[in-house]
Symmetry: D2
Subunit: 388 residues, 4 copies
Amino acid sequence: MNAPTGTAPLRLGMVGGGRGAFIGAVHRMAARLDGHYHLVAGALASDPARAVASALELGIAGDRAYPDYATMATRERARPDGIDAVAIVTPNDSHYPIARAFLEAGIHVICDKPMTTTLADAQALAEQVQCSGLVFVLTHNYSGYPLVREARERVRRGDIGTVRVAQVEYPQDWLTRRVEDSGQKQAAWRVDPARAGRGGAIGDLGTHAHQLLRFVTGLEVDEVSANLAAVVPGRTLDDDAQVLMRLSNRARAMLWVSQVCPGNQNGLRIRVYGDRGGLEWAQEEPNSLRVSRLDAPSTTLSRAGPELSTAAAAATRIPPGHPEGYLEAFAQIYSDAAALIRVADARMAASAHTRLVPGVQDGVAGARFVEACVASSAAGGRWVSAQP
Amino acid sequence: MNAPTGTAPLRLGMVGGGRGAFIGAVHRMAARLDGHYHLVAGALASDPARAVASALELGIAGDRAYPDYATMATRERARPDGIDAVAIVTPNDSHYPIARAFLEAGIHVICDKPMTTTLADAQALAEQVQCSGLVFVLTHNYSGYPLVREARERVRRGDIGTVRVAQVEYPQDWLTRRVEDSGQKQAAWRVDPARAGRGGAIGDLGTHAHQLLRFVTGLEVDEVSANLAAVVPGRTLDDDAQVLMRLSNRARAMLWVSQVCPGNQNGLRIRVYGDRGGLEWAQEEPNSLRVSRLDAPSTTLSRAGPELSTAAAAATRIPPGHPEGYLEAFAQIYSDAAALIRVADARMAASAHTRLVPGVQDGVAGARFVEACVASSAAGGRWVSAQP
Amino acid sequence: MNAPTGTAPLRLGMVGGGRGAFIGAVHRMAARLDGHYHLVAGALASDPARAVASALELGIAGDRAYPDYATMATRERARPDGIDAVAIVTPNDSHYPIARAFLEAGIHVICDKPMTTTLADAQALAEQVQCSGLVFVLTHNYSGYPLVREARERVRRGDIGTVRVAQVEYPQDWLTRRVEDSGQKQAAWRVDPARAGRGGAIGDLGTHAHQLLRFVTGLEVDEVSANLAAVVPGRTLDDDAQVLMRLSNRARAMLWVSQVCPGNQNGLRIRVYGDRGGLEWAQEEPNSLRVSRLDAPSTTLSRAGPELSTAAAAATRIPPGHPEGYLEAFAQIYSDAAALIRVADARMAASAHTRLVPGVQDGVAGARFVEACVASSAAGGRWVSAQP
Amino acid sequence: MNAPTGTAPLRLGMVGGGRGAFIGAVHRMAARLDGHYHLVAGALASDPARAVASALELGIAGDRAYPDYATMATRERARPDGIDAVAIVTPNDSHYPIARAFLEAGIHVICDKPMTTTLADAQALAEQVQCSGLVFVLTHNYSGYPLVREARERVRRGDIGTVRVAQVEYPQDWLTRRVEDSGQKQAAWRVDPARAGRGGAIGDLGTHAHQLLRFVTGLEVDEVSANLAAVVPGRTLDDDAQVLMRLSNRARAMLWVSQVCPGNQNGLRIRVYGDRGGLEWAQEEPNSLRVSRLDAPSTTLSRAGPELSTAAAAATRIPPGHPEGYLEAFAQIYSDAAALIRVADARMAASAHTRLVPGVQDGVAGARFVEACVASSAAGGRWVSAQP
């Protein structure tokens, strides 16, 4: 997964991710790790002065340190050495207009999740992507973990039989107190419906869990019965969400996400059970995958260890026993995006694994899921379709 | 928790638990471990000849190896050295008539769970117990684990603040295939509504999970929204149950039990989160309890280790690092029952911990919970009260 | 492993284990659990008055509550209903004379470890046992764990190939401070050479680790290079012991035991590696055994789970997922002893598994090991033979 | 730990690490992750043609794709935009001449471990480094893990009291079979004394374990008693090494490293015990650190979680719960090296944490340790000084 031989790195721009931002730095490390990108342009903050200063601090040349994304899209389009792709790492509500602008400028897009704050926007964006022929990658980074890809492959080839039951959860604790009151920037926009959208935890964490479930099982969520709540007094958006689901093969699933459970940091975990076996994986210990078969002892697969599929082996960098983590999985999405972009730009042949990369349709599915959960919860848990 | 000094063991009878039974042997080991009981009488099978033979095999004297429970209740009542208590370890549907018979004979009852197959029976039994003044202990054995008692104590004294969110689950895998077709006796009656009652997994496992949740949180389950299903084709009773719950302080909880998840043996696990901290415990690793406080690293309490409450310390036998398990926790319930019986019989003073012993009211609550879940599920997940 | 059908429990006496003793209560629970014994006689303390009072407190009849072991041996021998076996649970230095007295009285012996404080005593005892035809069981209780027996069986049948490397360790922390100064009785005699013998940690813990290594690998320890030290100022006996070992097939092994490592309770752990695979087991999580094969993912065996040998399956009571622990493993040694005694007394047929029970020759090997370690350490770590 | 604002990346060259090499790619990812370096020159293989081709494949410009390291040192020295630093990632035996050449050229050196194959070379190199005023960093990458730095800091500030006992181990399994016979390049040179030096496992893994022990405890190894062996028939160098150690404060330690233990991938683990507490860390689960205090429950520190020292907090990139791994720790060494280089080149102020970076004196200590172990083992385990 190192930069392919003989190819120059892609030119990358970034919108958002200036001083004090968390996810912007993650995207930059992810872009750097495998050597496929060179960050050359940015509009890194909503405030023009801060945007320019942040870009200069990161070593971006002065003429590509932009005050705003619109200027950046226009000027980069005009340059002969304009950016190949833009990474959008702003709060949720601005993903849509920013993505539109760069797609219109003919620039590939790598966008943080959730993709949009409404289903309508998501659908409009999907249409635009399709017409443009450009690459659109949504950074559902957990699907970049090698053993998540192994789990998907094992379900796909029938190792556990027909999927019957699945459990997915993602508890956190960082919003147990009203940290949004103390000026914590990450918290402030996430609890604000104007910027986060109609989903709180269900949008921020639920879309990850939902995508992971779909990715691993290969199934869609047909219907949901949801119970969302703002547990912490004074909040508008949910900070704890319980969802029952019917999957497209009639399997049963439960999803739980929370931001108010002390002792949980990023407890994303998935368990999938079929009529012949089961699979269990947890994000905080991502280098092992528990595999069960009926009437046999459980085995523990190691990242990069024996018996892995090529899908998993292709997504890892170092031997087993030397842990890879979150940044490597995130980098995998970036490296997969680079492969897609190079294919799209006719620079090289496609990899078999690029179909694993989350894209605009995953963003649509996520938006639909959040809207269905919000509707179901408002209706006292009534079963609501999460399909078109 | 060894037999109190200077007291003779209690005389114990048993109904059910003959050849080939699983739980009967567990009850006998639990009764023996701490030395509080001597098994002297039994009606160990529904078939009279097998009942007698089973008793003789266990070393019960010939005149107390009874062909049926009714005879046993009558004759033991008449003996000057009649049994102090009876352990009822038959399939669910017979708990009620057997318990009635022994209570009528003035004999204390230790009964396997779930207590009855209907709420009406449970209520009738509760009334009879109250009138009788006799001890009735329901073997919700997981509440005998020392660190479960520690968890309860820590919630009670406010260590985690106000409980807001709880998760309880109990997945198993032994019914993933239709083992009931192959003559597996344990499976056969559990999937048969005539013997198990209206709940399958929700009755067998759900009542344990429900009691554990109530025990640890000190809260009642007010309302449920349930989704029960027979995942394995051909079954009548649920083998996978999803339940959302509102607790008596308006906290939110999820309960999941399943018998069809390969790789899960007895995965009972509880997690409770308050506004100041959290607690996590899993039955398969019962000798540690994870305790979290906001803004501090997690700690791991060891059974019998430092900083335990007296409630936990009183329920353990050996130093930390030497694991205790299921039989010890089960024995604790028996030893607690012995303490209650001795108090009731005015033989000795009460222990402060006897209030921890699950009794007939827990059986009523469990029956009500199962009925509420069945009703909610039949109504498409409608919220249903689980309170009188 | 419940009491065999139709047989009366064996009559058991106990020496040591009165008020305040730890291991006596463990032996009594172990003897009770499977129903093979009935405690009917005791000389439970070195002080005659306390000995009698302790026995009465345990419900032993007045005429069998003895002031000292010599009286007990004499009188029990004379009774028609005299004890079948005696459990010796005193400090190390008295095991030898007490065992001699009961063997002379024709009574089977179950003795706590280490067997004696000198090799000479151990050899004399072994000779006496052999001449007597009586059963002598040494409670190396860790070999009673089902998955330890599984590990042994897998080595024996060649699953891991030729053993090349082994690691065994047993760290504790309870003597990190000079608790012996504060009247802690357990500590006081263990740090006193007059009562514990020449080995401190190496005698108390090292003999367990040594026996476990021999039990699992089926190999003997040929030579040792040891480095013993009293880490805590003021101690005479070692409280931390490092030992390198050459095994009888030239495999290499390391043994480490310590009483001064904070955070370790009973960290007994063994790892054995052959040219085809490896095995790892830890006493604090005894219900799983990690099994590795070259070029394959590791598997985790569950106690009572799939693919266990009959040796392991015969040593467990309840299904997988319901943990068994220390007392169950200890009880297994008692139940095995009962089987041996019944065979010796011609009451019933032998079990195939009785060869797994640690006996007097294990006590000799342990004494020889301690002496070799002490000699090697005194000689600056010179390699010393641990064989006759 | 991202590239400091407003500074251009350092120009990096690399020797070794061409096609098929493992550690070269690791160094490149480590150099890229935090953005402090730009790889601009290389002599990537011992074969000149392959060296040039490998460099071109990595996107290095043709005029800086060198056939050999000597040419590279000479030419880079002469360029106005010559490299700031060189990374040496060749087999052990060439580290010394290559390092000499670049130091002579006035170029900072980042060198893979073990530093040299003899103590004499190590000492000569140390002298040269000192005279040169250049930065020399030895990539003992495990000291880059944040929680390893936390452990060091906690020992240093006295949290566990006086260190008394330490255990360090590093088992692997990849040389269980004679993979060197099958053309496995990594294996071939590691088992060849001409290229690896006099230590096999003790050189490859033992130097890591030795450095980790010194780093965490702040103590030196005074004396060793070692037992090295080539367990796999036909090998010259040790593949399993047992070492007893006396530390500079008279604490006792054991070190075990092995390449022949099936089921172990990179099992580096350290445990340190003082008179007030203990610390335990394992490389395969690097995001948690177990901390014990006497008479209190154990706590588990999370990377980036509460109560970390600034030394640890400064070495991490992302919030707790999102695992970092081996590449991040390796990148930390590179980022620390960049800080040292910038200070040396007077480009910016020093960070307080640069004293944590392993350097040439660690290389000398490692070489001395290996020689002492080899000498002790040859003398039957005699205690040998590991100090000058």
